[in-house]
C-alpha cells in the first residue's frame, strides 16, 4: 500500500511536469484527486489492511494527498504566469571575472632569456648598478683614455669621483668571480646607464644581460654554438652571421648579426636596407680580464657577450620607440 502511494505520487509529478494547459491540468486533477480518482480508489482499499498498519497507512495517504494538492496548486500557479521562451544566454558578452594586470614586456623578455640559459646550465647572478670605475672599466681592460669613459658617455657620481653608473653588465664578470672558481656559466640581466641624448632608438637607461662561461678548453666555436642556440630558442628560425670586431674586454671579438625579423632579410627601414640587424658584441674573455679575476689564462678560457635586452624585446614585439618602456603609460603596458 505504502509503495503504491509513493509511486502514485511519483507518477503524478512526472505527469504534472508534462502538463502545459489548464485543461490538461484539470483532467489530471480529476484522474488523481477526483472523487473516483486513483487516490480515492486506493483509499477505499485501506479497509483491507490489517488494523495494526492501518493507522500508518492512513498517515501516508494523507501526506501523499497533501503533497499532490500542493503540487497541483503549484503547477496551476506556474501555468497562470506568462509563458517565457527558454532562457537565452548571450555567450558573446564580455566575461565578468576580475581583470588581470600584466607584467612589463622587459620582465617577460628577461625571464624568457634567463630560462633559455638556465636550461643550458647557467647560473643567474645579480649585479650592482652603482659601480667603481675599477670594476666598470679598469679590470675589464678599458684603458684610462678610452672614449667610453668620457663624461658624454658615462654618468659619474658627485659623491665619489671613482663611482659611475655602470655602462654595461660586464662588471658582474669580475664581481661574480670574486667568490667563484671555474667552471662557471653565469647570466646576469640588469639595468645599465649611458649618458646619451634619448630618441626613438636611444635611451640613457636600458637593460643588458651579461652571459659568460669559463672553463678549461672553452673555444670560439662554443661561443658561436651558444649564441646560435640562444637566438634560435628566442626567435625561431633565423640566420645568424659573425664578423670579427673589437671590444677591449675580449680577444678575439665577434659582432653578431641576425637576419632582419621585420623584412626577413629583404631590406627595410629597420635594418637600413641591409637585411641584417646588428645584435650584440661578443668574444673570448681577454687574458688580462681573466687575470684580473685571478684566473690563469694558460689553463682556462671563456667567452662572454652582453646584448641589450630592450632592442631584442622591441624586435620581438615590433615596438618602434625604446622610450615607451619607461613611461608608465597603460596604453603601452596594457598591450602585454
Amino acid at each position: 500500500m505504502k509503495e503504491k502511494l509513493n509511486s502514485l505520487l511519483e507518477e503524478a509529478n512526472i505527469a504534472l511536469a508534462r502538463v502545459n494547459s489548464f485543461k490538461e491540468l484539470e483532467r489530471l486533477n480529476y484522474d488523481y484527486l477526483g472523487r473516483k480518482g486513483r487516490l480515492s480508489m486506493l483509499a477505499k482499499k485501506i479497509t483491507d489492511i490489517p488494523e495494526k498498519e492501518r493507522k500508518e497507512c492512513g498517515a501516508v495517504l494523507n501526506r501523499v494527498k497533501q503533497k499532490l494538492q500542493i503540487a497541483f496548486a503549484g503547477r496551476k500557479k506556474q501555468l497562470e504566469k506568462p509563458v517565457f521562451p527558454k532562457e537565452r544566454v548571450d555567450y558573446t558578452l564580455p566575461g565578468t571575472a576580475p581583470k588581470l594586470g600584466a607584467i612589463h614586456p622587459l620582465t617577460t623578455f628577461i625571464n624568457k632569456i634567463v630560462s633559455i640559459f638556465t636550461k643550458m646550465g647557467f647560473e643567474v647572478v645579480e649585479g650592482n648598478e652603482v659601480e667603481t670605475q675599477e670594476y666598470n672599466f679598469d679590470l675589464l681592460n678599458v684603458q684610462k683614455n678610452h672614449p667610453a669613459r668620457d663624461a658624454q658617455d658615462t654618468f659619474y657620481l658627485n659623491n665619489n669621483d671613482r663611482w659611475v653608473l655602470r655602462t654595461h653588465t660586464s662588471n658582474v664578470q669580475l664581481r661574480a668571480m670574486k667568490n667563484r672558481k671555474p667552471p662557471v656559466r653565469i647570466i646576469s640581466p640588469g639595468r645599465c646607464y649611458r649618458n646619451e641624448a634619448t630618441d626613438a632608438s636611444h635611451e640613457a637607461t636600458f637593460y643588458q644581460f651579461e652571459c659568460f662561461a669559463i672553463d678549461k678548453g672553452i673555444r670560439l666555436t662554443d661561443l658561436i654554438g651558444t649564441l646560435k642556440t640562444f637566438l634560435t630558442f628566442l626567435y625561431g628560425d633565423v640566420n645568424v652571421r659573425f664578423r670579427p670586431s673589437y671590444f677591449p674586454f675580449v680577444e678575439p671579438g665577434l659582432e653578431v648579426d641576425m637576419s632582419c625579423l621585420i623584412c626577413k632579410g629583404g631590406g627595410c627601414s629597420v635594418c637600413k636596407q641591409t637585411g641584417w640587424l646588428e645584435l650584440l658584441g661578443s668574444g673570448m674573455i681577454h687574458p688580462k680580464v681573466l687575470k684580473n679575476m685571478k684566473i690563469d689564462p694558460k689553463i682556462y678560457s671563456g667567452f662572454a657577450f652582453g646584448p641589450g635586452v630592450d632592442r631584442l624585446m622591441m624586435l620581438y614585439y615590433g615596438i618602434n620607440d625604446i622610450r615607451l618602456s619607461y613611461q608608465g603609460d597603460l596604453r603601452f603596458l596594457r598591450q602585454f
Binding site: 594586470g101 607584467i103 659601480e131 683614455n145 672614449p147 634619448t198 670560439l220 651558444t226 659582432e255
Partner: protein, 790 residues
C-alpha cells in the same frame, strides 16, 4: 673612414666587384657600413668651355656665360650663372636642359631677369659630390669638351664608408686599407712610389727644438721654396671630396692627401714664420697660461699646460696635432712653406684637443695612434707631390732623433693553441699563409711552436690571443662551426631574489596591477617630496649624478613612489573611467658613505578607487599587501601600526617591511591626480631575509568544529587588533572578523569564533563555558556590550 675605390685600385689590382670587396672587408673585421655610388647626374653632365663672360644687364651678381659644349666650336649655349668664380677659358661642368640634378631639380629653359638660360654650370652640390653651392667646379684644362664630367672628374666607381674599430688605427689610411685588401684578395700591394729625399746642403738651416719629447717623439720640418698657391688638379680634388675633405688649395690639399694616404697628419706653415727671425727656431713646448691663439677656424682659444704648441721664438703658431694658427697660415701670397710631420702622443693630443673642444682629422689620428716608422714615407710622398704638382724646391730639412724608438714586437705561440682556442684545427700551412699575407713574419721555434713578428703598423697585436684572432678572421669567423660546450653536470644554484620577484609580480598582476618601469633618477623636488620610501632615511642624503641629462634626473632614487604617483596621474587623466592599478619592482639607492651604496629591491604600487572611503580603501590595499606576505607564510608575525590613520605600517621584528597609504586630497593635487588613490611599498630585500619559502602542512582535522558568531558594541577607540589579541582559549582554533558598523558614539563589531579539539568532538557545554569566559573578558577589558547572538 672613406675609401674611394679607384684610389685603392692604384695600390691593389683587385678583380672583385665593389659589393664582393665590401663583403670581404666586412667579414674580416673592417666593416663597410655603406657603399656610396656616384650620382647619376655625373653621367649626363658634360664638360664645357667658357667662351665669353658678360655682366648680366639687369643684375649685379649674375653673369651671362657663353659655353662651348662640343668639340665643334660652333656648338655653344648661353647660360646665366651666379657663381663669382666663373671666368673665360675655364673648363666647367655643364648640365643641359632636361638633365636632373643631384638635388632633384630637372632643368628647363628659363628666363632670368630678361635673359634666357639654356642650362647650368654646376657647383659641387648640384653634382652630388660636395656641399659647395657658391662656386662652380673648375675642371682641368686638359678635359675634353663634350666629354662626360664623370671621367673628367676622375670619379670613383664606388666609395666605401668604413666603421673602423679603435684597435686598428692603421686602417685610418688608404694604404692601411689597401694592405687589408691585398691580404684578402691575395694580390700584391703596390705602395705609392716615393723618391728618397735629396741631401740638402743649400738653404737656411731650420732649428727645431722639442722641449717635451714624450709629447713629440719625432719632428721633421721641410723647407720648400718656389711655391705658387693655386687650385689642385681635379683628380686630387675629387679624391679629397670622395674622402670627405674639402679641397682648399694645392698646398693644403697635398697635406690632406698624404694624411689620407699614409695616416700621417702633416701641416704646412707659411715660411715667413722662420724668415722673420735670424736663426729660425721651431719650438715644440707646453702651452703657457695666458697664451692665446687664433686657429684656422677663425676662433680665438686660450691655451694652457694641457696643450702642446708649435711656437716660433715667441708665440704659438699651431696647437700640435690639432690645428694650425691663422698667423702662420698658407695664403695666396705664400712663396715658401715649412712642411711639418711629427709624431705626437695619443693621450696628450687627445687631452689637448678636448680642452679646446676641437676634433680634427689630424687629432683623431694622433689619438688613435700612428705608426712612427712610417713618417719618412709620408714626408717623401708629400715632398714628391710638391715637386711634381707645385714645382716646389726642397731647400731645407731638419729631422729630430727619434725618442724611444720602438723595436718590432714578436709573439710566441703554438699551432695547437690556435686550434684549441678557435675550436677548429687549421693547418700549419694555412696559419703561415694567413699571417704572412697580413705582413707578419712567421718563424718556427721548437716543436709545434712559432714566433710571429708583428709589422710596425699593427699597434694592436701584443699577445697570442691577438694572433689567434688574426688567424680566425682570415679563415673567416662566419665559416666556423657551432659547437656545444663540453658537458657540465652541475645544477646551477638559484638566485633567491629572482624567484621572489617573480612570485610577487605574479601576485600583483592577479589583482589587476600593471607592472611599469621608471627611471632610476629623479629631481630635486622629488628628493624633497613627501613620497620617499620608508625603507631609507634622510631626504637630502642622496647619490647625485655629476653630469645628469637634465636637472630632472639629478638624484638616484631612494623611492619609487614619485614615479607611481606620476603614472597614476597620467593614466587617470587619460582614462578617468577605469580603475588604474600600477606597480614597479626595482631598486633604490641608499648611500653608505665611502662604501658603494646599498641597492635595495622594493615593490611599490598604487591604485585608484571609485569612492573616497578612507577605511575601505586602506583595508583593500592592506589586504593586497597582507596576501603577499601570507603567500610566503608570514602573517601572524607581522604587527600593524599607524601614524595618522591614513596609513598602515607593517613591521616584522620592529623593522618596517611594508607601508600602505591613502593620499590626502592636497597631496593628490600636487600630482594632479583626479581620483582617490592609495599607494604601498614592500621591501623585498627585507622580505627575502625572513621568507622561509616553505609552508608547513597541518593535518586536516578529523573532528568537527563548533562555530559561534558574536556581536559586541565597543567604544570607538578600541581597535580590532587589540580585541583579537585579547581573546584566547585552548579550544579556540581561530577568530575571524566578520564586519563592523558605526553607531552613534560607538561601533558594533561582529566576529566568528571557531572551536575545535584535535582528539574529540567538543560538547556544547565546553564551548559555552569558553564563550562565557570570552564575553566576560570583553566586558571587563573593553567595557563591551553584547548585541546579539547569531
Amino acid at each position: 673612414m672613406k675609401l674611394p675605390l679607384n684610389w685603392l685600385k692604384e695600390y691593389v689590382k683587385f678583380q672583385q666587384s665593389p659589393e664582393e670587396l665590401a663583403n670581404l672587408f666586412t667579414f674580416s673585421g673592417s666593416e663597410v657600413e655603406k657603399i656610396i655610388y656616384p650620382d647619376k647626374v655625373l653621367n649626363s653632365v658634360i664638360v664645357g668651355k667658357v667662351l665669353l663672360c658678360e655682366k648680366h644687364p639687369n643684375a649685379d651678381k649674375l653673369t651671362v656665360v657663353k659655353v662651348q659644349i662640343s668639340e665643334n666650336p660652333k656648338k655653344s649655349i648661353s647660360v646665366v650663372c651666379g657663381a663669382p668664380n666663373v671666368k673665360k677659358d675655364q673648363k666647367v661642368a655643364v648640365a643641359l636642359l632636361g638633365v636632373t640634378l643631384a638635388n632633384g631639380v630637372t632643368l628647363e629653359k628659363t628666363e632670368i631677369r630678361g635673359v634666357v638660360s639654356r642650362g647650368m654650370i654646376c657647383a659641387e652640390d648640384e653634382l652630388g659630390i660636395g656641399d659647395d653651392h657658391t662656386n662652380v667646379i673648375v675642371l682641368d684644362n686638359g678635359a675634353r669638351i663634350g666629354q662626360k664630367v664623370k671621367s673628367a672628374l676622375a670619379v670613383s666607381r664606388a666609395v666605401f664608408d668604413f666603421e673602423i674599430t679603435p684597435n686598428r688605427p692603421d686602417c685610418f689610411s688608404i694604404v692601411g686599407l689597401a694592405r687589408e685588401a691585398a691580404a684578402l684578395t691575395k694580390k700584391q700591394l703596390i705602395l705609392p712610389k716615393v723618391k728618397n729625399l735629396p741631401l740638402i746642403k743649400e738653404g737656411k738651416e731650420i732649428g727645431v727644438l722639442v722641449k717635451d719629447r714624450r709629447a713629440c717623439s719625432q719632428y721633421i720640418a721641410c723647407h720648400l721654396a718656389d711655391i705658387t698657391v693655386s687650385k689642385s688638379p681635379v683628380w686630387l680634388e675629387t679624391r679629397l671630396r670622395e674622402s670627405g675633405i674639402k679641397p682648399i688649395n694645392n698646398i693644403v690639399d697635398i697635406t690632406n692627401y698624404v694624411m689620407l694616404a699614409c695616416g700621417q697628419p702633416l701641416h704646412a706653415f707659411d715660411a715667413n714664420i722662420i724668415k722673420n727671425h735670424k736663426r729660425a727656431v721651431i719650438t715644440v713646448r707646453k702651452g703657457e697660461r695666458g697664451e692665446k691663439i687664433t686657429l684656422l677656424d677663425d676662433k680665438e682659444y686660450a691655451l694652457g699646460s694641457k696643450n702642446i704648441v708649435i711656437a716660433d721664438t715667441k708665440n704659438p703658431i699651431a696647437v700640435a696635432g690639432v690645428m694650425g694658427g691663422v698667423s702662420s697660415a698658407v695664403s695666396s701670397n705664400t712663396k715658401e712653406i715649412i712642411l711639418e710631420a711629427a709624431i705626437f702622443h695619443p693621450v696628450i693630443t687627445r687631452k689637448s684637443a678636448q680642452s679646446l673642444g676641437i676634433r680634427t682629422d689630424s687629432s683623431t689620428r694622433f689619438e688613435k695612434g700612428i705608426n712612427a716608422n712610417a713618417i719618412k714615407q709620408a714626408v717623401e710622398m708629400a715632398v714628391g707631390l710638391y715637386q711634381e704638382l707645385v714645382g716646389a724646391r726642397l731647400v731645407g730639412y731638419k729631422e729630430t732623433p727619434v725618442f724611444r724608438q720602438k723595436k718590432l714586437k714578436s709573439v710566441q705561440l703554438s699551432y695547437q693553441e690556435i686550434g684549441e682556442a678557435i675550436g677548429l684545427k687549421i693547418s700549419k700551412k694555412k696559419i703561415h699563409e694567413h699571417l704572412t699575407l697580413l705582413g707578419f713574419e712567421v718563424k718556427p721555434v721548437g716543436i709545434g711552436k712559432i714566433r710571429v713578428t708583428v709589422p710596425d703598423w699593427r699597434l694592436d697585436i701584443n699577445i697570442p690571443a691577438d694572433i689567434i684572432e688574426e688567424v680566425a678572421r682570415m679563415h673567416g669567423v662566419n665559416k666556423l662551426p657551432a659547437t656545444n660546450m663540453r658537458v657540465d653536470v652541475t645544477v646551477p644554484p638559484q638566485e633567491p631574489m629572482r624567484a621572489l620577484s617573480s612570485a610577487i609580480r605574479n601576485i600583483m598582476i592577479s589583482y589587476g596591477f600593471y607592472e611599469l618601469y621608471s627611471y632610476s633618477f629623479y629631481s630635486d623636488k622629488d628628493r624633497r617630496g613627501d613620497f620617499l620610501s620608508m625603507f631609507c632615511d634622510g631626504r637630502f642624503n642622496h647619490l647625485e649624478v655629476d653630469n645628469p641629462l637634465s636637472s630632472e634626473q639629478r638624484f638616484l632614487r631612494k623611492s619609487i613612489l614619485p614615479f607611481i604617483m606620476r603614472s597614476l596621474s597620467k593614466n587617470i587623466a587619460l582614462d578617468p573611467d577605469s580603475g588604474i592599478m600600477v606597480f614597479e619592482l626595482g631598486r633604490i639607492f641608499i648611500p653608505r658613505g665611502n662604501k658603494l651604496p646599498k641597492e635595495d629591491i622594493i615593490t611599490a604600487g598604487g591604485m585608484s578607487f571609485a569612492k573616497d572611503i578612507l577605511q575601505n580603501n586602506l583595508l583593500y590595499l592592506k589586504g593586497v599587501v597582507e596576501n603577499i606576505f601570507k603567500k610566503f607564510g608570514i602573517k601572524d608575525e607581522l604587527t600593524a601600526r599607524s601614524v595618522n590613520e591614513r596609513d598602515v605600517i607593517l613591521e616584522y621584528n620592529n623593522e618596517v617591511i611594508a607601508t600602505i597609504y591613502i593620499l590626502r586630497s592636497v597631496e593628490r593635487d600636487m600630482y594632479k591626480i583626479k581620483k582617490p588613490v592609495g599607494i604601498f611599498e614592500i621591501s623585498l630585500t627585507r622580505l627575502l631575509k625572513i621568507e622561509s619559502g616553505k609552508k608547513a602542512f597541518h593535518t586536516i582535522p578529523s573532528y568537527p568544529a563548533v562555530t559561534r558568531d558574536l556581536s559586541f558594541e565597543f567604544a570607538n577607540d578600541i581597535l580590532w587588533g587589540s580585541i583579537e589579541k585579547a581573546i584566547s582559549s585552548p579550544l579556540l582554533e581561530s577568530i575571524n572578523f566578520l564586519n563592523q558598523y558605526q553607531m552613534p558614539n560607538k561601533k558594533s563589531i561582529a566576529f566568528r569564533l571557531i572551536f575545535r579539539a584535535e582528539d574529540r568532538t567538543l560538547t556544547a557545554e565546553e564551548v559555552e563555558q569558553d564563550i562565557n569566559k570570552i564575553k566576560q573578558l570583553l566586558k571587563t577589558k573593553f567595557n563591551a556590550k553584547i548585541r546579539r547572538k547569531k
